[in-house]
Symmetry: C2
Subunit: 460 residues, 2 copies
């Protein structure tokens, strides 16, 4: 089962871990080589370890440190930046068997969970106590909390309720040398020492392996009121977004461009206006008459900025129906060909410029790009669609993907808003952070993982 | 003016800084030795530098690094943990002349400010554009943004809107060696690299000197509705807090104990029930009828948990009047003697236990302790009052102060929720973080400030 080269590593792991935790079957290893970022490089691991407890993780990291073997932590594998992609000869450390909700303290408004629990399971555990775990990445039904933490995952409702990191009170983390630290705690406010919780959140497994998280729960918000509007120009849609954000507190504020609307209509005819430049979707969960007043204020913003069609509803079923177009955006684009899903952020005021730049890039590169995303946060997903069989098309698509990153940076934005740097965008990070910024990152990485065994080649 | 020992340092500083930036006058130095934490140790600086730009800060840190001279960054000096207290022979680096609001981007919902600007000035600049900078430490009228950032300051409205760090999009920071990094940016969401913004926020000048901050602005919230309630037992008040937090989203949720209410009544008779065990103050800014519905839900929570008196009002002037008691809490306690103001946090569900522990400690130590604070965040300020002239009383007060930190830790809490560790609580940090936690802190500190010149003896 093992080759000569890694026999010693496997023997050491087998000495401290239960037999069923160690997997070297080629098919299983192959299934654990990569996440959903199809185009990011992925190597071949020598072993998969399925940890069942913190002690397992410690054992793996102690052995990996002693033998200088890279460790790639892995959750559900739903990542979109190659952050969980294997390196040749590495240990893939799956946290998916550490999948328990350890505690829900309803009065303390918190939950303590293991990293392999799914986002949906945390939501369900909170709901059983009448509470709400707010972070809602699109992958919430199948992504693990550990992955959400590793990428500081966003979602639709973070425009009002914040990203994953905003819901984390504390962590248990195993460091590269196998030692265990606890960061933060069970209190909402805490300034005792550095904010290491936030340092680990979003660090994509390069600084430590999160083995437990204490999460902040909220009361369930009132029922949402939903608005849709279409705009003849991107500038008008962008103006509506900034006006809505300045005057109201939407619990959702999404935009889709014409290419995306056309893909959705082609996939599932919903009666969208395929000649409109942009389709806007907003929600208020202010509740009751205030929710209606807030959605009416949003409608006024849309009308004042040139929307050709505006409607809103407080009926829940109808509201869900209006969301369908947005939910189908990515699946519909995927139907049109292979996709490169991007994840850029720009300052709120520059969304129309981002759309314009993406249109220009699509024309220049001769590719189709559909853009949709979390307009209220300035976080958009321009998605390059191309013919998988056509090597030249892939080349052009990659060019467009890179150009979009450059455009976001030129607009004072970021190369990733919620998916992470991973392996996919690592080459671009320096352009965003600058030489001094990169140097500081390396100093911190060096202090926390001096042997460089934790997910090497990711982020930095 | 200068002694032989520091002549060379002063000459080097004078060579690169304008003459008016350098102060060695003994009286001025004495006025810059400490913040408001009266009982924290403070040394005698050899020079005060009043920086006017990032370049000044760089020059100071380069020279300080070359000469291994400690640098203590300083804002308005309103800190409560000795974080800005001088060390013998140090450079005190004042940022108060870097006091400009550089930009308000209303459409981008952000402001760019220098560290010496007051919190109130940021609020005013935002308000001029119809927007709101939410963080509101009690010191908001006289504390600097740099200090707010250094301590990750909290306040009354963070129960709904978060602490200072939640409002920071990006920073410019000068590192110990004089290099400059920019963290974060102008986007709401950003996962490109580690969250260094949050690492610097709350690090109390021990990792770098913040020279610019990009702050998130919000729409102004609707007018608030205000509720007050009194409780015959602390357990009842605690139950009201957890019920209110589980069912509503208060924009303020404060508690005061009997000792505090009595101090307020003695200072300024407001007709408070001085026989009640606790006085609760809550607000909703949900707006309109929803605000009234929310405050009525809070009132129901209070009635269900045994409140003997509950009233609420949507009248703004009346609401402000009801806040008076809370605003006078600390000034009223200060009237009763010298004070040691503590700042502990506990999980939301354990507030009654904290109150009980504080009562026990006050009795055991024979001191008066008035407790008030941000109940909705579990962040309370037990304030030990004692006779300044009585050395034995000071000793007992210090004992009580320390006991309260221990009690918070025993309840799964924190030694500081919003004031910072500074010099005052540095000896207690290890008990909260544990040996591994402290070790990780020191590794990060060592990587970022290898010569240990940045505010040594604070936090760690």
């Amino acid at each position: 089962m093992t080759t000569d080269g890694n026999g010693a590593l496997l023997r050491e792991l087998a000495a401290v871990l239960p037999a069923e935790a160690l997997v070297t079957d080629a098919d299983v290893l192959d299934a654990h080589r990569r996440d959903q970022a199809e185009w990011a490089p992925a190597g071949l691991p020598q072993v998969l370890v399925r940890a069942t407890c913190t002690e397992d993780v410690r054992a793996v990291l102690r052995i990996a440190s002693a033998r200088r073997v890279p460790v790639v932590p892995r959750g559900a594998g739903s990542g979109l930046s190659g952050g969980a992609n294997a390196l040749d000869g590495c240990i893939v450390l799956s946290l998916m068997r550490m999948n328990r909700v350890l505690e829900v303290d309803a009065k303390g408004m918190l939950a303590v969970v293991q990293p392999g629990v799914l986002n949906a399971e945390v939501k369900a555990a909170a709901a059983a106590h009448g509470l709400w775990y707010s972070p809602d990445p699109a992958s919430w039904e199948f992504s693990s909390l550990g992955g959400n933490l590793a990428t500081n995952a966003g979602g639709l409702c973070c425009v009002k309720y914040g990203v994953t990191g905003d819901a984390v009170l504390g962590l248990e983390v195993v460091l590269a040398d196998g030692s265990v630290v606890r960061t933060g705690g069970r209190t909402v406010k805490n300034v005792a020492g550095y904010d290491l919780t936030r340092l680990f959140v979003g660090s994509e497994g390069t600084l430590g392996v999160i083995t437990e998280a204490t999460l902040k729960l909220r009361p369930k918000p009132p029922k949402a009121t939903t608005l849709v509007a279409t705009f003849p120009t991107l500038a008008g849609a962008g103006a509506a977004v900034t006006d809505i954000m300045a005057r109201t507190r939407p619990s959702m504020l999404e935009l889709m461009d014409q290419a995306t609307c056309r893909a959705v209509e082609a996939y599932k005819p919903l009666g969208l206006d395929v000649d409109a430049a942009a389709f806007l979707l907003a929600r208020s969960d202010a509740g009751g008459e205030q929710g209606v007043a807030e959605i009416e204020a949003m409608a006024s913003c849309c009308e004042a900025t040139g929307a050709t069609f505006v409607m809103h509803t407080s009926d829940e079923a109808e509201g869900e129906l209006l969301l369908t177009a947005r939910r189908l955006a990515y699946p519909a684009l995927e139907r049109q060909g292979a996709t490169l899903l991007d994840d850029v952020g720009v300052p709120l005021s520059r969304i129309p410029e981002l759309f314009a730049a993406v249109e220009r890039i699509a024309a220049d590169r001769g590719v189709l790009v559909g853009t949709f995303g979390h307009a209220g946060d300035g976080n958009m997903h321009p998605t390059v669609v191309f013919d998988r069989q056509d090597a030249a098309a892939l080349e052009r698509a990659r060019g467009a993907f890179d150009d979009i990153l450059g455009a976001a940076l030129d607009l004072g934005g970021t190369i990733t808003g919620e998916h992470g740097v991973g392996a996919l965008k690592q080459p671009f990070l320096g352009r965003q952070l600058g030489e001094e910024g990169l140097r500081l990152h390396r100093r911190i990485k060096g202090a926390m993982d001096p042997l460089g065994i934790l997910n090497p080649g990711k982020v930095l």
